[in-house]
Symmetry: C2
């Protein structure tokens, strides 16, 4: 087990109708004015917007609002939110939505508190010294941003997608009512399931020290998500399934499944270039293509193989073929691919109408223009990343 720090200060308020408490929760911290940040406006159609406003009014919390956050949130809107938060001197930012709204809020909170362009944090030119508190009312189970230290933003100039991690990014509170996800479409639900699984799998396939306890927790979480995922796709109003996905999304990315490991989110990095380049690609859908391609590229590696066998046997219940462990490993990868298909995800780039035209450019960007290799069982440079894209064709 590697040394680690674990810090998850976010207060989780989980259960039916909890979103109606949000005004009171905000007041419990002594805050009286917030920036209410949200997405495309679906919260107006579902009535959630009105319920949030009612809760804020009832608690005597004043607010300014900014909607319009898109999937793969853009730096231009985050800059606008930062400016508004600073000008209006709000106490905190209330993010009502999923990972995109949360990440836009985090970037804005850091920008407002430090009085600078939040993109500087994304490209590592500045480190935030403080941030405004961010609170969440979660409406999509996927990104885990509601408890995580990460914030991923896309810059439309050059379509660069970049993240920055700091404990300052961890939300103050997260209100989670699984019922709010009943209206999430099957496709978006499946994208979320994939994202949750990938947050766990990226940490699970770690290339250094073993950590049996974290392995077991990750396997338990994966088995629950696989089961609940099928149930939620079949019956969007299955509370238990929606609750499992929502809570798993948080635990998959608050580092519970990464403690004591040395890991690197390489599939995420490889995918970011995909959805950064092709804005129509949902992050989860991109991951459903990248993971099998990456896994097929790496699984025969002598340190990777035992991990893939453990994954296949413990998570998918596949019998171990001790004479041919690579067959067991491959069966686990194929089971994952079959599951992604079953819940309606693409597993090949062709299903996303993507050919090899941009592989060179994406791989180049993924290496930060030759400035880095991705850490993995073997280092992934431009050639390896291109090969992984090719395996996704």
């Amino acid at each position: 087990m590697e040394a680690f720090q674990y810090y998850t200060p976010t207060k989780v308020i989980f259960g039916k109708d909890t979103h109606k408490q949000v005004g009171a929760v905000i007041r419990s911290y002594g805050f009286t004015k917030v920036l209410f940040h949200y997405g495309s406006g679906s919260i107006k159609r579902t009535g959630l917007y009105d319920q949030i406003v009612a809760s804020l009014n009832e608690a005597g919390v004043a607010f300014v609002e900014l909607g319009g956050v898109e999937p793969n949130p853009k730096i231009s809107l985050a800059r606008k939110a930062a400016k508004l938060a600073a000008e209006e001197k709000v106490d905190m930012i209330l993010a009502v939505g999923g990972g995109s709204v949360l990440d836009s809020s985090k970037a804005a909170a850091a920008g407002a508190a430090n009085g600078c362009d939040p993109w500087l944090f994304s490209i590592g030119e500045r480190k935030p010294e403080k941030s405004l508190p961010v609170g969440a009312v979660l409406t999509i189970s996927a990104a885990g941003s509601e408890m995580s230290n990460s914030c991923v933003i896309t810059n439309e100039e050059g379509w660069l997608k970049r993240g920055f991690n700091t404990d300052l990014n961890r939300p103050l509170f997260a209100v989670m009512n699984p019922e709010l996800t009943y209206t999430v479409s099957p496709y978006q639900t499946a994208c979320g399931i994939t994202d949750i699984m990938m947050h766990t799998l990226e940490r699970y396939f770690c290339f250094n020290a073993d950590n049996h306890l974290t392995d077991r927790i990750a396997e338990g979480l994966l088995k629950s998500v696989i089961e609940a995922g099928k149930a939620a796709i079949e019956n969007p109003c299955d509370y238990e399934a929606r609750a499992t996905l929502m809570w798993a999304s948080s635990m998959s990315h608050n580092n519970l499944t990464g403690n004591g490991r040395d890991y690197f989110m390489r599939c995420h990095q490889i995918e970011h270039e995909l959805s950064g380049m092709y804005d129509r690609v949902a992050h989860g859908a991109g991951l459903a293509v990248v993971f099998p391609a990456w896994a097929k590229f790496i699984y025969k590696n002598e340190r990777a193989l035992p991990h893939f066998c453990q994954y296949a046997t413990r998570v998918w219940g596949i019998d171990m073929d001790f004479d041919h462990p690579e067959r067991t490993a491959l069966q686990g990868i194929e089971a994952t691919e079959a599951y992604f298909k079953r819940i309606g995800m693409p597993v090949r780039l062709s299903e996303l109408d993507i050919d090899d035209t941009k592989f060179d450019e994406m791989a180049e960007k993924c290496t930060f223009f030759g400035k880095r290799v991705l850490r993995d069982y073997i280092p992934l440079g431009k050639e390896e990343i291109m090969e992984i894209y090719r395996l996704g064709l």
Copy 2:
């Protein structure tokens, strides 16, 4: 899944040599004076005391000290610590030890901050409104107090053992170096293993809503602890095993394994009367006797039986006997009992030189002198509690 709040603000700093950072950690919060609270003085023999003092001195943190915390920590010493903390106007209490030192520190912190006798919190006559911060350097993997909201104290007048739970009890930080537990005796190690397992099992055997995700996490944790427990008893300096036990102790009691469940720590309540009455009984050893007795009392209950079957098959790998589920359930209980024996725990009261003389008195106390029944699959009143003690003979 029931509604829940999850709040674990404790910053965990985990790994080799981390205790040498404690002075710097304290300074990172801006604190300059602490009450250094510890136990019997074993930390002086092992050299830990000197290392802590060196770290405090190096960071410029002044301290007053109070040792002498005993297992089943006493209110008399906690009162003394509260007085000292208040008089010396310390910024926080640094607990160096295990659960007993932590609980003594928590009681003292609440007493000092609220200016009253901390026993009032234990008996529910007052609720703490604030508390001093408590930080921990952990030396025993067992109680999980380093991340928990609980504090259990014994009053020597009448030998009452009582706890109070509040988020104010959650430590600010916990420094965890598994190497510090290398010197814990096999018996104390086994007591700790039992305590860790019981913190998980009490929540696992919940009598209302299902929660498959939390089930799976609990099962993974139990399997890891069972494996690591054997390894740590066989080789006290097995870092991986000690690390697994230490991290599991925190996760077993920070409510990760209880989220979304309605549960009640009934075996703990029944055991508290045992170690409250017989001060020689270590809490873990008492639990090793109480759990099998309680399990044999309850497992045939129609709502309990499926849980016991799930436990037997998933945690112990026992084949399900679908024609006779009660046989499967009993095999799981027996496997637990056999494991407790193997690691050197008593599993019968006779091994602790306890007969039925005090059963009536203990059961009476456990019902708060007739004022409560324990919540369980069926309510446990005085008669049921006495029957459980009898099954432990």
